[in-house]
Point group: D2
Amino acid sequence: METRFCYRKNHFSRTADGLKVTPKEHEYIFKTQLKPKKTGLMLVGIGGNNGSTSVGAIFANKKHMTWRTKEGIQTANYFGSVTQSSTIHLGWDGQQQIHVPFNEIIPILSPNDLIIDGWDINNANLYQAMIRAKVFEPELQEKLRPYMEPIVPMPSIYYPDFIAANQGDRANNTIPGTDKKEHLEHIRRDIRNFKAKHDLECVIVLWTANTERYTDVVDGLNMTAEQILASVDASADEISPSNIFAIAAILEGAHYINGSPQNTLVPGIIDLAHKHNVFVGGDDFKSGQTKIKSALVDFMVNSGLKPESIVSYNHLGNNDGKNLSEARQFRSKEISKSSVVDDMVEANKILYPTGQKPDHCIVIKYVPFVGDSKRAMDEYICSIFMGGRQTFVIHNTCEDSLLATPLIYDLAILTELATRIRYADANDGEFRPFHEVLSILSLLLKAPVVPPGTPVSNAFMRQFASLTKLITTLAGIAADTDMQIEFFTKLPKAN
Amino acid sequence: METRFCYRKNHFSRTADGLKVTPKEHEYIFKTQLKPKKTGLMLVGIGGNNGSTSVGAIFANKKHMTWRTKEGIQTANYFGSVTQSSTIHLGWDGQQQIHVPFNEIIPILSPNDLIIDGWDINNANLYQAMIRAKVFEPELQEKLRPYMEPIVPMPSIYYPDFIAANQGDRANNTIPGTDKKEHLEHIRRDIRNFKAKHDLECVIVLWTANTERYTDVVDGLNMTAEQILASVDASADEISPSNIFAIAAILEGAHYINGSPQNTLVPGIIDLAHKHNVFVGGDDFKSGQTKIKSALVDFMVNSGLKPESIVSYNHLGNNDGKNLSEARQFRSKEISKSSVVDDMVEANKILYPTGQKPDHCIVIKYVPFVGDSKRAMDEYICSIFMGGRQTFVIHNTCEDSLLATPLIYDLAILTELATRIRYADANDGEFRPFHEVLSILSLLLKAPVVPPGTPVSNAFMRQFASLTKLITTLAGIAADTDMQIEFFTKLPKAN
Amino acid sequence: METRFCYRKNHFSRTADGLKVTPKEHEYIFKTQLKPKKTGLMLVGIGGNNGSTSVGAIFANKKHMTWRTKEGIQTANYFGSVTQSSTIHLGWDGQQQIHVPFNEIIPILSPNDLIIDGWDINNANLYQAMIRAKVFEPELQEKLRPYMEPIVPMPSIYYPDFIAANQGDRANNTIPGTDKKEHLEHIRRDIRNFKAKHDLECVIVLWTANTERYTDVVDGLNMTAEQILASVDASADEISPSNIFAIAAILEGAHYINGSPQNTLVPGIIDLAHKHNVFVGGDDFKSGQTKIKSALVDFMVNSGLKPESIVSYNHLGNNDGKNLSEARQFRSKEISKSSVVDDMVEANKILYPTGQKPDHCIVIKYVPFVGDSKRAMDEYICSIFMGGRQTFVIHNTCEDSLLATPLIYDLAILTELATRIRYADANDGEFRPFHEVLSILSLLLKAPVVPPGTPVSNAFMRQFASLTKLITTLAGIAADTDMQIEFFTKLPKAN
Amino acid sequence: METRFCYRKNHFSRTADGLKVTPKEHEYIFKTQLKPKKTGLMLVGIGGNNGSTSVGAIFANKKHMTWRTKEGIQTANYFGSVTQSSTIHLGWDGQQQIHVPFNEIIPILSPNDLIIDGWDINNANLYQAMIRAKVFEPELQEKLRPYMEPIVPMPSIYYPDFIAANQGDRANNTIPGTDKKEHLEHIRRDIRNFKAKHDLECVIVLWTANTERYTDVVDGLNMTAEQILASVDASADEISPSNIFAIAAILEGAHYINGSPQNTLVPGIIDLAHKHNVFVGGDDFKSGQTKIKSALVDFMVNSGLKPESIVSYNHLGNNDGKNLSEARQFRSKEISKSSVVDDMVEANKILYPTGQKPDHCIVIKYVPFVGDSKRAMDEYICSIFMGGRQTFVIHNTCEDSLLATPLIYDLAILTELATRIRYADANDGEFRPFHEVLSILSLLLKAPVVPPGTPVSNAFMRQFASLTKLITTLAGIAADTDMQIEFFTKLPKAN
């Protein structure tokens, strides 16, 4: 399918009189292969809460499972997945607004189509993992048992320096030895076998395992593809497990997505992805407190209200929380959660004259009793008109894995879609794939990695608009639905 | 200034195979008179909290007033006004995102330019009114005293049947008699005098007085311009004070905006506005709980989360709260607050199969102690993935008048702008004004009145996008900034 | 068992110099029959949420049931019952504080000992009722099924004028006819049969059915025992179903407790109880929002902080909420919830000079989605030192029936205990039972009915101290544990 | 004034059959000197928020100051002071409950009687300090200026190792040198001069300065009076500024109270206090989050509800918050806040079988924007009946200094009272003062220091009962008001 799109874009120059804005139009051609590829998803940390929930929910949906809760009969669903449960506004038919399901605009995979396998440092089978996760109701756990019990995670890589010491007990399913080159080969072999076994056209490796500490980013270590491969060969200390997985994926032609906050995607890995024509994306699922923050702060700033203080407390009791209770791992998380308002603050120099920023504070605590039922408690204080203050206090019960898992599907589904798209500038007609850093995933990520030199956009509704506009453009039906000129004018409204 | 805009719009037809979508382009031409008009704003209820705050804040801003608070020196500002404190994203200059203040895109009025006068059923001068309002700090009150004390509201119309009985004590500044025709003439004279005295090009009458009960809407009474004029002549019981003000405004060529929830804008009044080529807009300032709800629910539904229960409690202690403590007045408010999620619910048939709606409950209580410092307490419960639930609990301290007053300015400023715009379909080239029901004000209103047969859109970020897209279109610099294709492609990013 | 207690009490006289306080001592003798009686508990509304939960939980505890939840294995318990789960502080043994379970001080019944039956206007058996209630987890429901399914409520009395119209559908199990005298006889027969069938020594009838509207309290109707019996004979309109149940109980020598807010215990019924030597108690279980309010406000006032505004919102989705969605039934509830801070306010004339009271507002809304999981949202604002304000905002997820049911057991258990107590003034040695209005139940009731002329005390911790002091007094081991002189003095601390 | 009190106390022995409880009575004689002493209060940290607020509020109260706020005219008061604003229940006079102001039972000082001076490491005068504190309204600040400006703190002791590095800038008013012995002499001289200048009978030194890190408690350093004096002579590193102040106070016969959480009151200092017959008390004002926690958890546990998880977040922006943003200082605070529920948990072995404790987590963050307006956000989750859960979420806006300052007065007033009390066991008649560790201050302190071997009681209402019982006992009018036998019996109620 080939579509043309006339992209309106302003060009800027600064003159003595100030900013000069010149509107221009660029014509793009998009070519989208319509048939989704047979796709495999390999989860690092498949035995964790997200991992077992991802796998279980697909079985539950495929088998149309239902289960009793005290509130009544519950049915499997894909709520919280943008690709499966959102709709896109296409326009007005003269009678009503037309909204079409996201997954009916252009052909994309369903989570049900994904073939899943993965690694974990713990050897519990997925039935045991699911019980440990405390996410599904008991009756559902039992209905899933025959499907989940046979699945045992492949051994994973465990370098204790990168995750919290309290994870040591869990690490009973690890690839032996200390030679990182061998570990890389092991993982590459796992990917090759998986691909061959299922005859896959597309493989995506996605990290949903423990948050690692940050690694150093220094020349000689990991600034280029060559450097990082050499560092693996040398079993360099700063090569993390997630580095190994990302490199293995790329070398096998698989795409790599980082669902945790650590800085896996160092320049050397992005360079490697570029050379191997695969996508990388990250960091950190945007599912709960940060997601709503990225919508709320945008709302406030656009309303002309000035957030002065944003205090975000969290506590959770699952293994993610346990791992984050050590300082270095928390630090990774703190970084990914902190930058989320920066672009919105910088967008408004009336409220925030250069150099001003709101107080912004992030806390995560491990509270075993709450389990996977993560609690986010936020206080936003805005300066409003004439020195007044508006204070928002929010208590948000975010079921951690139930919010994150749909994002895993969406990340995989959008990545697969991206592999089918080529675009060209109409002037030269040369078709290319998207940039290897796949920024269309930003909607789903707390601290989006973007192509070097391009801006990060965190505002949820803007990200959503960007993604849906792309989807309708690919389908050749992009419309200026946000403008709705027809409703405030007196032109005939007939179709 | 004349600009052309190619508006992309989908046309729809239903076939045996389902919905057929055909993209089309319409070319519009916009002509905007660049020089803002000298504009007068007449407030009904100028002695109320919003009224005295509106007037006082303009003096404070014009005179660059500062005042001490325990936190330090405070400066007058226009935070919370979209036209004065928001920025619009124009694009990327290769280095950074370009955001320009809303009021620098095309020439619009500043609140400082507005000439204000108004009516009130109470005769307190605006210094007394300001003290009664409990909105400004004492030091600011004293600095404003010389400007506020001389302003005394013009006598207003008081029909006890329309507002709460507890307002009776306040009604000491009313136009005598019971002949509604005479009242209409009295108000028309006030408008004429005001216009003449200040030599105004544009007058806007804005209701920020007590919420009235709903009036009946029945044929013979108020369905056409003729009917409603006849009903005024007959002093019909169902002609409310706000009807009189709206009719007086329209007959004097002034625009009329309803900042309260009652149904002033009955078909007869819209018809009258149409005949007199003036704008009407309403209903009910969207400033606090409902405003954030219109952003949050849109965020949730677009995230694929399903709001199942939305419970919105409010309490306040100012005179608005006192008036709303009677059932019929509360009912008007309840209606305007209730419809706000309807369009978002209808937009998603995956989450809400036909006929489903969330439980939605609105409560407003009068609690004198909190004064103007309105408290909104909300609980949102969403069904999420696999039967889980996400619960958001929000306590929102909304300073009532400090949030509403900037909207009063914005409503007036955007209305004045609208009077300067003509548009044409490029095919016929005939220039027309906007529809007399001014739906570009929707961003600022809880229950937007829209032209008959057109859809209501309540989602804040969509409304904001719609408005800012119009503004850039008028300026000839509309861009597809929401799409940001340039950042996920590999095209040269140079300017 | 007989114990003596020297009760320290101040006597007061007012003189020209002010209040004169004279300490006096009264010696009391308490005689407690140690063996608990075989006791039956008859619930009005046994098919409601509280009813089915009460019955089910006793089976679950007796059978030591366990069930799986996603968090793990759950065991039946009696948490939330003061008699079963609280401890009483007896003193210090030189090493540690000695706290003994409440039910080990003097012999009292266990909930497991109660024999339960009851009436309901709906004919669902208790298994169906339990499913409808949405209180227990599905696995527990199934384990209880064999015990619950055979239990079918006896037909009850339904006078539509007293409860909400929306209860009409539910009323399919009612005693026919309109002759209230016959209804009384029918219920008396039910009580007699129950007593005989189980060979009971003590029967308690407890209303846990729908909240009724208030009845008139007027001379000629219900001011004396004779009047109210005559009114029943005459099938007077103002004789409510709960009146009939109370009268039937009293005439059969059974004690009557009102767990709902309506004014069942009119003077005529108290008079009748007096004449028949049975206890009556009420009104309205104190289980959630009001319970914590009665602790918090006492805490605040004793801290010298002045609550100025107390706003209490509630919503729930069970049948209680549905019934309360009509105005007259809500009004009963509003009254019982409103008076709870009055005694604390009156206790402090420094904070509240005569005539001052805080703003206090109560709202209950019916929100079906939340079911039995009642939500209470409160805002307390206190004036503090030097004009400052402390604001407490509370969101309280109170599982409605899980909080109320333990109170049902406690009410029955304490009532049975009261039947075994006689006391005498040591001066005359004449032993008497407690007053027929059983005020020792106050801890468990929102609006305690007390003997005429005696004060109501709502402060939770004071009520708790009062009850536990009585229990230790009966056991002959009352101590001044609250004073703890031994710890700030230097006397030898040895035992 | 001399009063006798028969104290009921249980004695315990453990037998084969279990615990044996034997009630006993001890007769005590209390002798209270009725005339309060002329008392001086010396604040360490007088230039901090609490310090300047304490001094300013006394002037405001003495001069009956009023000031305008936007809500109206505000009057100086002592709300939040138990001694000045609480009442004590004395009994029932047949008509109504008799509550008498705390300060009318026995003669005690008023804050107005206190003569205040103090030290600070910063040389701002108290007018400047008051502005910096952001506690009082501007108009009040100006009214206080003539009284506050002349007061300049005496130079204080600054050992950078004990407080946060960020306090370095503030330290411009310090006693020179590094010889701790000389510092001790300097402070002793300050105390002597103050006492002589004002001809005082009683001096109290109270630490309301920065939280220090914990010091080591080791033999040879500070386990006895001799050791700690020798350590001062040797200028030992582990001798903190607060140690010096405490020792100086004791050696000058002044009482010492620690309002911060650090462990100033090491065994050597308590020993020294014993030898010099002065009182010491601490630690850490109980004013906000912890105070309400100590009431709430007691309420929950006594209700038979089981707190399983208590998560307490705080943020504040004053200098206390800034100092606590370093780890060692926060650690002191964390300890004092953590132990507060321990006694309540240990009191109930039904809910908490041996070894069980709730998850309990404390966080304090420095958020400059909120200033002195401290925010506490708590989540309590209780296991309730049959595996249910009750969740309380609290947002508590606690004005930090406005809550703490009244406690400073109360601590001083109660300490002065304690100096006037002697008690004797009636058996030997030998009169003694209270223990040198003044545990009657516990009500006001987060982590009460108690005499060795005695239990800590944190439950607010129990502490309140203990204190008020003592006060009425001293006045000879102690009554069993908590029991209220007269209301559930049928004895004559006449006076």
